[in-house]
């Protein structure tokens, strides 16, 4: 149903649609048709109404509203200057990061043997590498040589983590006491109206979402790259994962880390993050997270991993308050501290003292063994999913 408007308008609209796309708004062809249909009902002389119409039809996210407004102003400014549709836009790409969706991780290819089933091959390789590198497992990341780092990164890439499950409110066929009336009746029909067995249903379960907040400030320098590798590995096997890094400010890097190749992923992260190796304001970072992201990513009983050495230059009271809020809105708050592996280390900094009361688990991440042992913690509470389970004994 195309309106009987003149071609001039159509040209303008199409040009405007093109402009929006150049500004980075995803405009589908169907939307342009919707817009034409909508403008039939609008007085075209009322420019503001036309603007609202374009906006409600073409924009679908709040974030895009300011972009739209800017594009609109730009468009009309260009019109006034008699530059109807040939925009002279600088041709910088508007979308900065075009990252392919996360794919299956490539298997290690070195022990290529076509005849062997792939899983077996994979397992054998892990075993071999572990036996070769038993020493490496206990060594603090901070003392690694360049070669050892490379080796450790390979090992980390092979780790697999499973998240604890949470019950959803959906049902599936199963063995609990609940009778599945819908399926039972269907079956009854097939048997000519005779109820032979009562079919049952049970709750379905899903993996809990994981949120990682990783400190990349100066004091973490020796750990941050290798821990990012670890975070990349954790994220690779999971559906619901959100990853943030912070120093003086919080940056979301979920998208960048979706890149399957860890080196490219870390490079991308370096481009996005501005405060590598600077100071730390943990409280401010967590506050930003709580306010801007908490409600969006902590919805379904998430497990939160906070990776930091606890050297904080911010206000301890703020840190305590925001840690409390973070703990209340998550299923489990786990603080991973690389310094915790050192002999005689005591978590005495003011920031840590303020934050510790709100931490469910306080665990080391200084070597490969610690990373392996984290597995059970993340997968735990399969049973005790209702309340918070008791904190693990703290390692000193």
């Amino acid at each position: 149903m195309l309106p009987t408007t003149d071609h001039h308008l159509l040209d303008h609209l199409l040009a405007f649609g093109r402009l929006l796309r150049q500004f980075g708004l995803p405009i589908a062809p169907g939307q342009m048709l919707d817009l034409l249909a909508a403008l039939v009902y609008i007085e075209l002389g009322q420019r503001e109404d036309v603007r609202h119409t374009c906006r409600t039809v073409l924009v679908r996210r709040r974030e895009d509203l300011p972009v739209f407004d800017e594009a609109w102003e730009f468009f009309w400014a260009a019109q006034r200057q008699g530059n109807p549709s040939g925009f002279a836009l600088p041709d910088t790409p508007v979308k900065e990061l075009q990252i392919p969706r996360r794919l299956q991780r490539p298997r290690p290819q070195r022990m290529e043997d076509e005849d062997r089933p792939p899983d077996e091959q994979h397992e054998i390789e892990i075993e071999m590498s572990y036996s070769q590198s038993e020493q490496l497992r206990h060594k603090d990341f901070a003392h690694f040589t360049g070669d050892e780092l490379d080796r450790a990164r390979e090992l980390i890439a092979q780790l697999r983590y499973r998240m604890a499950l949470r019950p959803t409110r959906r049902w599936q066929a199963g063995r609990s006491r609940r009778i599945d009336t819908r399926r039972t009746l269907r079956q009854t029909l097939r048997n000519g109206g005779e109820v032979l067995t009562l079919l049952r249903r049970e709750r379905s379960w899903k993996q809990r979402p994981l949120v990682v907040l990783c400190d990349i400030s100066g004091s973490m320098e020796r750990y941050s790259r290798i821990l990012l590798q670890f975070v990349h590995t954790v994220g690779a096997g999971l559906r619901d994962v959100e990853i943030f890094v912070f120093g003086t400010r919080l940056t979301r890097i979920t998208r960048a880390l979706e890149h399957r190749d860890i080196d490219e992923a870390v490079d991308l992260v370096s481009n996005v993050v501005v405060d590598w190796g600077g100071g730390t304001r943990i409280g401010d970072a967590i506050k930003t997270f709580n306010w801007q992201w908490g409600r969006r990513v902590l919805g379904h009983g998430a497990i939160v991993l906070l990776i930091s050495d606890g050297w904080d230059r911010g206000d301890p009271a703020l840190l305590a308050r925001e840690m409390g809020r973070l703990q209340r809105t998550s299923h489990r708050l786990i603080w991973l501290n690389p310094l915790l592996g050192r002999a005689g280390y005591q978590p005495l900094t003011r920031g840590l003292q303020a934050a510790l009361p709100y931490v469910d688990d306080f665990l080391p991440v200084h070597n490969l063994q610690a990373l392996e042992q984290l597995g059970p913690t993340l997968a735990e509470s399969l049973i005790s999913n209702v309340g918070r389970s008791a904190p693990r004994p703290r390692v000193s």
Binding site: A28, G30, Q31, D34, A37, A38, Y41, I42, E43, E48, D49, H52, T53, R55, T56, V57, V59, R60, R61, R62, L65, T168, R169, R170, W171, T181, R182, T184, L185, L189, G192, G193, N290, W291, R295, R296, G299, H300, R321, R325
Partner: protein
């Protein structure tokens, strides 16, 4: 049916129902009615998203069908379910009366045995009557599975029931979806909808809203309260008060026979507008006295 000749006419009808809609929102609603496209409303809690559907139902004199979303919402609760106990009983009775089994099996999947849930109800408006208004509230609380079949319903306004065939809306419902954005709505669903973000209102608009909703309250109190709430919205709070909170607060103050704000009363009734202990602390630290003076 939905006969508004212009955006102005719609805006006036909304105002008559004490719903103050600004021009962009009125445009979005108007187009949603004209194009028969669902309207997705997003915005902070308490800015009047749900209210749009209620007011529209009043204006159009149609039936309001509300579907509150939650995780795990399934076809049996949202679309239809067979009345199993009744079907069982019917089969029994048919057996006792020696009726043919095939006939009975056919009967029990008739419309009498169908329990109609909101989405199915929304397709039932007749051609000459008023349209139904379907409110899908807090869509962000539902999960992907639900979005998938909601998408199916909203695409063609029809529902397939395997035993019964396809039920098609004679008159498609007016559909309003709301979301608080605790989760992003899937793109495919958004593509079916018009979109509008409802922001917090300006001071003047909020005063008009309160006056419309709570007639008889002194002008001074309303002005002070609205100005106070706007001060709060400019502050660094975890949960900002919405229009709903403003209305609650004015109602609370009126119940206490107050005609103007004073620091003590504000302190006592702060719970009507702020829902987090931390936020109350922040506001108290800023100084209630100063805040009250600012808005007086």
């Amino acid at each position: 049916m939905v006969g508004f000749v212009s955006i102005d006419a719609l805006q006036q009808a909304l105002t008559a129902q004490q719903y103050i809609a600004d021009r962009p929102l009125a445009t979005a609603i108007y187009l949603s009615l004209k194009l028969r496209k669902p309207l997705l409303l997003e915005g902070e809690a308490g800015v009047g998203k749900t209210e749009v559907a209620k007011v529209l139902a009043h204006i159009l004199q149609g039936r309001l069908i509300r579907l509150q979303c939650y995780e795990g919402l399934d076809i049996a609760t949202a679309v239809y379910e067979w009345n199993y106990p009744r079907q069982m009983l019917y089969l029994r009775a048919a057996e006792l009366e020696g009726e043919g089994k095939d006939q009975a099996l056919h009967d029990i999947f008739g419309r009498d045995f169908l329990l109609r849930r909101p989405l199915l109800q929304a397709l039932e408006a007749t051609a000459d009557g008023p349209p139904s208004i379907l409110l899908v509230d807090e869509l962000d609380r539902a999960d992907d599975e639900f979005e998938a079949f909601l998408l199916e319903v909203l695409s063609d306004f029809q529902i397939s029931i395997p035993e019964l065939g396809t039920i098609r809306a004679i008159q498609p419902p007016v559909v309003i979806l709301t979301s608080n954005r605790t989760r992003d709505i899937h793109d495919a669903l958004k593509r079916r909808c018009l979109y509008h973000w409802i922001a917090y209102p300006s001071i003047e608009k909020e005063i008009a809203i309160v006056q419309g909703r709570l007639p008889g309250v002194g002008e001074r109190l309303i002005q002070q309260v609205v100005a106070f709430v706007h001060e709060l919205r400019a502050m660094d709070l975890y949960k900002l008060p919405g229009i709903a909170e403003t209305l609650d607060w004015v109602a609370a103050l009126t119940a206490l026979d107050r005609t103007a704000l004073d620091p003590e009363t504000v302190d006592d009734t702060l719970g009507a507008i702020l829902k987090y202990q931390d936020d109350m602390e922040v506001v108290r630290k800023r100084g209630l006295q100063t805040l009250v003076e600012q808005v007086s």
